[in-house]
């Protein structure tokens, strides 16, 4: 032990070199970050002088100022990622332009953004709704997976001959049920076992992932698949209607309607008021005679159903069959979208759209510059890091 310590010590000096190499990306980012904040503040100043209505008033009203700060926070990660790209010999301006045109230049690209935003919006709702009741659901990932599993199972075993008007709603219900069951486990553990829902929902994500694996390698495996792990395809009648000239399907409409519904329930109904009271002050809620356990159970199960519907939409809208990786990472992205939207269902529509846009950008990154599409995770993390770092700016009223 002593000896190995000593070797480690003597090696430390030599290790500094490779450690620096390994950390160079990190350093590049911090450097870029510093540059970016500089840029952002400069543009903020330019904006202020440009927009200041009269010399008598100093600067901008606080609201506009905070809006500028927020704009800066959104711009900074792109600047930082740009520097990162420069290191790899890619012109960031060209790339951003092509990313932008691929997302907004034509119907197909825009459709792709909405396709990615749909599951993020739904799993975002699955995080936002319990958050308003004072609970943290990080289980959207697993709830989506089980929703996809159950809706596929229903589609290939019972609904193969069903007409669309019956089959699609039935599949939707099966998906919602799957997500609800999965969230129900978390809810029961919380209510009956007093276990923290953050940890249990997180662990259940892995159980869900392997449950899907179990089924696509076993009972749900397509006999005609030459040993590839996926389910048989669902019948064409069960596929969601698609907009001409794109892959965009009706799922986005379902998601937006559900977001509006969650908003309406939270802000316009007695139940929503109670949920918000519970979230704001659980003690007061209990004193007021709310059945707290039942409300927590209900909220989590409803959240699970929303995520489960996301799973169904992935199957009926995009994939057409269940794969082990169906919907991977959407649950976590949804959680982050909800956090960015301060758990507000309507704002969530915007943040899901933003994350969807970045996700699509990954494809054009790979096609146009030969960088692996996974590097878009870096850009996404940078966007979030800057938002996290600037968390207090411009949200004073709400916090």
């Amino acid at each position: 032990m002593m000896r190995s310590n000593a070797t480690a010590m003597t090696n430390a000096a030599a290790a500094a070199e490779p450690a620096r190499a390994a950390g160079s990306a990190e350093k590049a980012e911090t450097a870029a970050g510093a540059g970016a904040t500089g840029l952002a503040s400069k543009s903020a100043e330019a904006g202020m002088t440009g927009a200041a209505p009269s010399p008598a008033r100093r600067g901008l009203p606080p609201r506009a100022k905070s809006a500028l700060m927020q704009a800066g926070l959104f711009a900074a990660p792109f600047a930082a990622f740009g520097v990162f790209l420069l290191f790899y010999g890619v012109n960031p301006i060209d790339l951003y332009v092509s990313m932008f045109t691929s997302a907004f230049g034509n119907r197909y690209g825009f459709g792709e953004v909405l396709i990615k935003a749909t599951p993020i919006l739904l799993t975002g709702l699955a995080a936002a709704l319990p958050a308003r009741a004072g609970m943290i659901n990080v289980g959207g990932e697993g709830q989506l997976a089980i929703g996809a599993l159950l809706s596929t199972a229903a589609a290939v075993t019972m609904l193969q001959a069903a007409p669309a008007w019956f089959g699609i709603p039935a599949m939707l219900l099966a998906g919602a049920l799957g997500g609800a069951i999965w969230a129900g486990i978390t809810a029961l553990l919380r209510v009956k076992g007093n276990m923290n829902e953050t940890i249990t929902s997180l662990l259940l994500n892995y159980v869900a992932f392997y449950t899907v694996g179990l089924f696509v390698h076993g009972p749900l495996k397509d006999p005609a698949s030459f040993n590839w792990p996926f389910s048989p395809p669902i019948s064409d009648a069960l596929r969601l209607p698609v907009l001409n000239g794109s892959r965009l399907h009706a799922g986005i409409a379902i998601a937006v309607v559900l977001a509006a519904a969650v908003w309406w329930v939270l802000s316009r109904t007695r139940l929503g008021f109670r949920i918000r009271v519970l979230g704001a002050n659980a003690f007061a809620a209990e004193r007021a005679g709310f059945r707290v356990s039942r409300m927590q159970l209900l909220t989590l199960v409803a959240a699970g159903a929303l995520a489960g519907i996301a799973g169904m939409i992935e199957i009926a809208g995009i994939e057409g069959r269940l794969r082990p990786t169906t919907g991977a990472n959407y649950g976590y992205l949804g959680f982050l979208a909800a956090w960015m939207a301060w758990n507000h269902p309507l704002r969530l529509v915007a943040t899901s759209f933003l994350l969807g846009m970045i996700a699509v950008a990954g494809n054009s990154l790979e096609m146009n510059s030969g960088l692996p599409s996974s590097s878009v995770h870096i850009l996404m993390a940078l966007v979030l890091i800057f938002l996290l770092a600037g968390g207090r700016i411009g949200r004073g009223r709400r916090a």
Binding site: N11, A14, A19, E26, G134, M195, S374
Partner: protein, 305 residues
């Protein structure tokens, strides 16, 4: 066969053990770090890459720890200095770790290394049964054996330990006695990140001898859960890590013996066992969370906090 499973438990549990001890220190100081997953990935790649370049697994281990520490530094900055939401930050860093390692790790996928190999300890490894289970492992595993009592001693028998625990329990008391709780937390989170990175490096340079994209497969998250299962006690956390390892080893053994059980049941087993163990701990009401962590888990209804 039992000896095989136990040996496997220690072998595959070691990476989690490092991470779980690191997370424990960090949580004792009042910071939960879901970014442990990202730190482990960073450690796994940094360790592997360094071992490829230098041929020295010890340098690799050190680089792995440093890699994990850099991710943890970001977590510490955002959470402690900028007051960001701990869970959202942790998840973000998990994505950062996945993105960065997928990006930089691409050319290491096909590389191979010698790395650490099991080196039996003379005499001790000759003890029947126990000798093979405990004393026929890679050097990092022996380090992990020493780490557990060390962490316990540091946390519960030294002044430093009192300070760390105070920053997780009674921040104001620490402040009143003239110390800076933020600084203590920084230290604890960085130490936690180093250990998580070391765990990741153990995975890539001692356990699998390879780099695969996203190779930690949720071990960092499991580490976070195990800390709670262990009621923030180092020895129990080690047992939890080995339990997780045992479930993995069981899965290999069952496959080798050709039992007709789907491997997917066994893949699930470690996570299910962790859940059941958590439930058992909860029912015995023996667990007490550091107070500062309670605030993280209650969350704020606006979600802004």
């Amino acid at each position: 066969m039992i000896a095989d499973i136990l040996t496997g438990a220690v072998r595959s549990g070691t990476s989690v053990l490092f991470a779980v001890q690191g997370e424990l220190v960090s949580e004792r100081a009042g910071v939960i770090n879901l970014g442990t997953e990202g730190a482990m990935l960073a450690g796994a790649l940094a360790g592997f890459a360094t071992t490829v370049w230098t041929g020295s697994p010890w340098l690799g281990a050190l680089a792995g720890g440093t890699g994990g520490m850099l991710i943890a530094l970001l977590h510490a900055f955002l959470v402690i200095s900028r007051g960001a939401n701990q869970l959202a930050t942790g998840l973000t860093l998990m994505f950062l770790g996945m993105g960065l390692t997928a990006f930089f790790g691409r050319k290491f996928v096909s590389e191979s290394i010698v790395g650490f190999n099991p080196t039996p300890i003379p005499l001790l490894s000759d003890i029947p049964f126990i000798g093979n289970v405990l004393f026929n492992h890679d050097p990092l595993t022996y380090v992990s054996f020493a780490l557990v009592p060390l962490i316990w001693f540091a946390l519960f028998r030294t002044r430093l330990g009192v300070i760390i625990r105070a920053s997780g329990e009674r921040e104001d008391a620490l402040f009143a006695s003239g110390m800076n709780p933020k600084l203590v937390r920084y230290g604890a989170v960085l130490a936690g990140g180093f250990l998580a990175g070391l765990g990741g490096a153990q995975l890539s340079i001692a356990y699998t001898h390879s780099w695969v994209e996203n190779m930690t497969a949720g071990r960092g998250i499991v580490a976070v859960a195990l800390v709670i299962f262990a009621a923030w006690k180092p020895l129990r956390a080690a047992v939890g890590a080995w339990l997780f390892g045992a479930a993995q080893a069981l899965q290999l053994t069952v496959q080798q013996q050709g039992y007709p059980i789907s491997p997917y049941f066994l893949f699930m087993a470690p996570y299910l066992i962790t859940l059941i163990a958590l439930l058992a701990v909860e029912f015995r009401k023996k667990s007490r969370m550091p107070e500062a962590l309670g605030k993280v888990f209650t969350g704020s209804p606006g979600g802004a906090g």
